[in-house]
C-alpha cells in the first residue's frame, strides 16, 4: 500500500514537472487572506468563493456594480408589473458557457429553481423566498411570479448566490466552476492559488488581463513581504492595516481605503443576566472608546459606527454620539443596575480585527470594573458554540452581508433582544420597494437598536486595498463580496 502511495506520489511529481505550462507576460496575482472551501457560490456562504468567481467567471441575470447599484448582466433589461407580483427578464442572446453550452431561459429557470429548491445548499435562501414560480416564456424571456412584492428582488438576483449555472455542469462547479464570464477557471492548487485565464469567446467586452491568479496568503507578515517583493501585485483587502503608512509612502503602490458592508459589533447575549438589563448594555457602550479602538486595532483605517448600518449608505444616521466614551457614566450605570465586580467572557473568532479589538476592549472594560476573560476560538467553534449554540456572554464579529439590519428582527437570533416595533419595521421594509419610503423606516430601525443598546457598535470594517500603481480598475469599495477584475488593466 505504502508503495502504491509512494509510486503515485512520484508519478504526480513527474507529471507536474513535465507539464511545463506556458508563461504569460503580464499576469495579475491577487492576494487573499482566506481560501474558499470550494468554488460554487450557489452552495456556500464563504466570502472567498464570491471574491474569486463573482462577475469574473460566473454571472447572474443582474449584477451589482462598484457603487452598489444594480446593472444588467445576462438579462439586458426587465419589467416589473404594477402590482409588483410579476417580473419579466429579457435575456442576452448568443451567450455560451465556457464548455460551449448555450445560455437561454431554460438554463436560467434551472439555475433559479435549483437555488431556491427545498433542501438546497444555497447559503442565502431568503433571497428567493418571494418567488412563487419561474417560467421560460421563450428562449430569451424569463417570467417570475411572486408571492408578495419584493423591492429587493432585482438586487437580490445580482448576488453571487443567484448566478447562472448550466444543468450539465452545475454539480461539478465546486471543483471546476463553469460559467459565462470573461474569465475561465483554469486550475485550483489547494492551499495555494486559483488560476483564471481570459475567455476569448466572451459575449461582452473581453477582459484586458490574460490571466489572473488568486493567491491565498494567511499570514499578514508574508502578505506584506510578498507585496514588497512583487510576488503579489494587488491586495483588494490588505490584512495588516498597520503597514498601510509604509505602503502609502512607497511610490510603487496605490493605497485605497474603501468601504465594506461589514459592521463590526461586540455582540451581547441578552439572555444572560446581567445583560438582560439595558442599563448594563448601555454601560458597555459607554465604557468603550471607539476612537482608541479604531486607532489601536485598525490603525485609523475604519469608521466608528453607532448602529448596525454602513456609514456610506444613503439611509445612514450618525448615532456615534448616543453613547460617547464615558467611563464614569458606565460605572454609574452599572452601579444603578446593582452590578459590581462583573466577571464575564469575551469570545473571539480568529480574524485579526476581532483578536486585536478584543484585547483593547478587555483593557477598556477593566477600567470600569468589568473583568472580561478572552476566549479565542476557531471559526468552526464560533459557529457552533456562539452563533448556533448561543453559548457566550460577549463576542466580537463583523456582519458582512449587505442590508442585513433585518437580523435584529429574526426570532431567537443570538443577541436575544426583542422589540415589537422593530419587527414591524423590518416586515414592512421587506415589501417596500420605494427608496423614499424605505429611508425613514431604515432610520427608525437604526435608532431603535441603538436605543436598546442591543450590541456595542464598534466600526465599519474598511476595505484596505493596496495594489501596484500601474494597475487600474480595481474596486475601492466593496458593496458586495467580490473582486471584479473584468475591467482591470496595466499601464506602464
Amino acid at each position: 500500500m505504502a508503495l502504491r502511495v509512494l509510486f503515485t506520489f512520484f508519478l504526480s511529481i513527474a507529471a507536474i514537472v513535465s507539464a511545463q505550462a506556458q508563461t504569460v507576460d503580464r499576469p495579475l496575482v491577487i492576494g487573499m487572506g482566506l481560501e474558499p472551501p470550494h468554488l460554487d457560490p450557489t452552495a456556500g456562504a464563504a466570502a472567498a468563493i464570491d471574491e474569486i468567481l463573482y462577475a469574473n467567471v460566473l454571472e447572474g441575470l443582474t449584477r451589482i456594480t462598484e457603487d452598489g447599484s444594480v446593472a444588467p448582466a445576462l438579462a439586458t433589461d426587465w419589467d416589473i408589473s404594477d402590482d409588483g407580483l410579476t417580473v419579466v427578464f429579457h435575456l442576452r442572446e448568443g451567450v455560451t458557457f465556457h464548455d460551449g453550452a448555450p445560455f437561454d431561459a431554460e438554463v436560467a429557470k434551472f439555475a433559479l429553481d435549483r437555488a431556491r429548491a427545498e433542501g438546497a445548499e444555497n447559503a442565502q435562501p431568503q433571497l428567493f423566498t418571494a418567488i412563487d414560480t419561474v417560467e421560460a416564456t421563450d428562449p430569451t424571456t424569463l417570467t417570475l411570479t411572486l408571492k408578495e412584492p419584493d423591492g429587493d428582488l432585482v438586487y437580490s438576483l445580482g448576488w453571487g448566490d443567484a448566478v447562472m449555472v448550466h444543468p450539465d455542469s452545475a454539480e461539478a462547479n465546486k471543483q471546476t466552476p463553469i460559467g459565462t464570464g470573461p474569465f475561465r477557471f483554469e486550475r485550483w492548487r489547494r492551499g495555494d492559488r486559483v488560476v483564471l485565464v481570459r475567455n476569448d469567446d466572451y459575449w461582452g467586452e473581453p477582459a484586458k488581463l490574460p490571466r489572473v491568479e488568486f493567491a491565498f496568503i494567511t499570514d499578514p507578515a508574508v502578505a506584506l513581504a510578498s507585496l514588497l517583493a512583487g510576488d503579489v501585485q494587488a491586495y483588494p483587502s490588505f490584512p495588516a492595516p498597520e503597514s498601510l503608512p509604509v505602503l502609502e509612502a512607497d511610490q510603487r503602490f496605490t493605497v485605497a481605503i474603501g468601504t465594506t458592508e461589514g459592521e463590526t459589533i461586540m455582540a451581547i447575549n441578552a439572555a444572560r443576566p446581567p445583560f438582560d438589563d439595558v442599563r448594563v448594555r448601555r454601560a458597555l457602550s459607554n465604557a468603550i472608546d471607539r476612537n482608541a479602538l479604531v486607532e489601536g486595532a485598525m490603525y485609523g483605517t475604519a469608521t466608528p459606527i453607532g448602529s448596525h448600518f454602513p456609514p456610506h449608505a444613503k439611509a445612514y444616521v450618525d448615532l456615534t454620539d448616543v453613547y460617547p466614551y464615558d467611563p464614569d457614566k458606565a460605572r454609574a450605570l452599572l452601579e444603578e443596575a446593582g452590578v459590581s465586580d462583573l466577571k464575564t467572557t469575551l469570545t473571539l473568532p480568529p480574524t485579526q480585527y476581532a483578536r486585536r479589538s478584543g484585547e483593547i476592549i478587555a483593557a477598556q472594560l477593566r477600567a470600569v470594573g468589568i473583568e472580561a476573560e478572552l476566549i479565542p476560538v476557531e471559526w468552526a467553534e464560533w459557529l457552533s458554540r456562539v452563533f448556533r449554540g448561543k453559548d457566550y456572554d460577549l463576542t466580537i464579529v463583523a456582519h458582512t452581508e449587505p442590508n442585513d439590519i433585518n437580523i435584529y428582527a429574526r426570532p431567537d437570533y443570538y443577541f436575544h433582544v426583542e422589540n415589537a416595533r422593530l419587527d414591524e419595521i423590518i416586515a414592512s421594509l421587506a415589501v417596500e420597494a420605494d427608496p423614499d419610503k424605505r429611508t425613514p423606516l431604515l432610520e427608525e430601525a437604526q435608532r431603535l437598536i441603538t436605543e436598546d443598546a442591543v450590541n456595542v457598535f464598534l466600526f465599519q470594517l474598511p476595505k484596505n486595498g493596496v495594489w501596484d500603481k500601474r494597475l487600474h480598475g480595481l474596486w475601492t469599495n466593496s458593496p458586495i463580496q467580490a473582486n471584479d477584475v473584468t475591467g482591470v488593466y496595466w499601464t506602464e
Binding site: P220, A221, L224, V246, E295, G296, R355, E359, A363
Partner: protein, 269 residues
C-alpha cells in the same frame, strides 16, 4: 568566566520574571494607544509596543510565561519520565520493554502535533503548550534515565549494596538516583533551552499562550507586520529568546563539564 556571565544573565531573567508577578514598571493590561511605538526613553527604556504598553514590562511578563511554560514542561517530563525510566531499567522483563514501547509511541508525536491535537480539543492556551512540550519530554527523560540507570546498576557497588541486604527501592534511592541526578539535571538544561524555543514556536503559530497573556513567541508573532514600522517590537523578544536559550545552553555545558568524569580525567596512560 563565561559561566558566571551566563549565570548572572539567567538570574536577571529569573528575577525579572518573578518580580513581574507583583510588579512591572508599567501595567501591561492597560493601553495607551496614543503613546504607541515610542522609541527608547528614560520613561520607557525599551520603548512601547503597538498598544502603547511598556516593552520592558511586556518582556518581564513574557519571561514569566515563556520560562514558566518551559520549566513546567520540563518538570512534567522529569516527574513522569524519570520514574518510568527507573522502572524500565529495574525490570528487565516485559514491564521494562512495555514502558519503552509506550515511550516510542509517545515519542512519535512531535510537540507541535500534540499541541495541534490539544488545541483542537481544548482550545489554544499556555497550558496546552505546557502539556505538549511536557509530553514530548517524558520519553526523552525516560530513555535517558533508563540507560543511565542500567549503566549504574551494572556496577559493582550495586552488588555490594545488595550483599549488604539493601532492597531495590533503597538501592534506587541511595545509589542510582544520586549518580544519575547530575546527568538528568544536565539534560534538563538542554531540554529547557529546547522548550523555550518550542514555546515560542507554538505561541507563534497561535497554539500557545493567548491574549491577554503575554509570551515572547506571541510578541514576536504580533511584531511581524510591524517590522518596518517599529523594528524594536521584533528585535527585543527575538533577542530575549535567543539570549535565554544561549544562556541556558551555556550553563548546561558548564554543568556537563563539571559533572562528566570524561572532562575531569586527563588521559595519562
Amino acid at each position: 568566566m563565561r559561566t558566571a556571565l551566563a549565570l548572572s544573565v539567567l538570574c536577571v531573567f529569573a528575577v525579572g520574571a518573578i518580580l513581574a508577578i507583583w510588579w512591572t514598571p508599567y501595567p501591561v493590561d492597560t493601553m495607551a494607544i496614543a503613546n504607541r511605538f515610542a522609541g527608547p526613553s528614560l520613561a520607557h527604556p525599551l520603548g512601547t509596543d503597538q498598544y502603547g504598553r511598556d516593552l520592558l514590562s511586556m518582556l518581564m511578563v513574557g519571561a514569566r510565561t515563556s520560562l514558566g511554560v518551559a520549566a513546567a514542561a520540563i518538570a512534567i517530563g522529569v516527574a513522569f519520565g524519570a520514574p518510568l525510566g527507573l522502572l524500565a531499567a529495574a525490570s528487565d522483563g516485559i514491564a521494562g520493554a512495555l514502558v519503552m514501547r509506550v515511550n516510542d509511541i509517545i515519542f512519535a508525536f512531535p510537540a507541535l502535533i500534540v499541541a495541534v491535537i490539544l488545541t483542537t480539543s481544548f482550545g489554544p492556551g499556555a497550558m496546552n503548550a505546557v502539556f505538549a512540550i511536557g509530553v514530548f519530554n517524558i520519553p526523552v527523560f525516560a530513555r535517558l534515565t533508563a540507560s543511565s540507570a542500567r549503566r549504574i546498576l551494572a556496577l559493582d557497588f550495586i552488588d555490594a549494596a545488595r550483599l549488604s541486604g539493601k532492597g531495590k527501592v533503597r538501592i534506587a534511592l541511595e545509589h542510582v538516583a544520586p549518580n544519575i541526578a547530575p546527568i538528568i539535571l544536565t539534560q534538563a538544561t538542554t531540554q529547557f533551552a529546547i522548550a523555550i524555543l518550542a514555546e515560542a514556536g507554538l505561541s507563534y503559530v497561535g497554539l500557545g499562550a493567548q491574549p491577554p497573556s503575554v509570551s515572547w513567541g506571541r510578541m514576536l508573532n504580533e511584531a511581524q507586520t510591524l517590522v518596518a514600522l517599529a523594528p524594536q517590537l521584533a528585535v527585543w523578544p527575538g533577542l530575549a529568546i535567543a539570549v535565554a536559550v544561549l544562556t541556558v545552553t551555556t550553563l548546561g555545558e558548564a554543568l556537563r563539564r563539571r559533572l562528566d568524569p570524561r572532562f575531569q580525567r586527563v588521559r595519562v596512560a
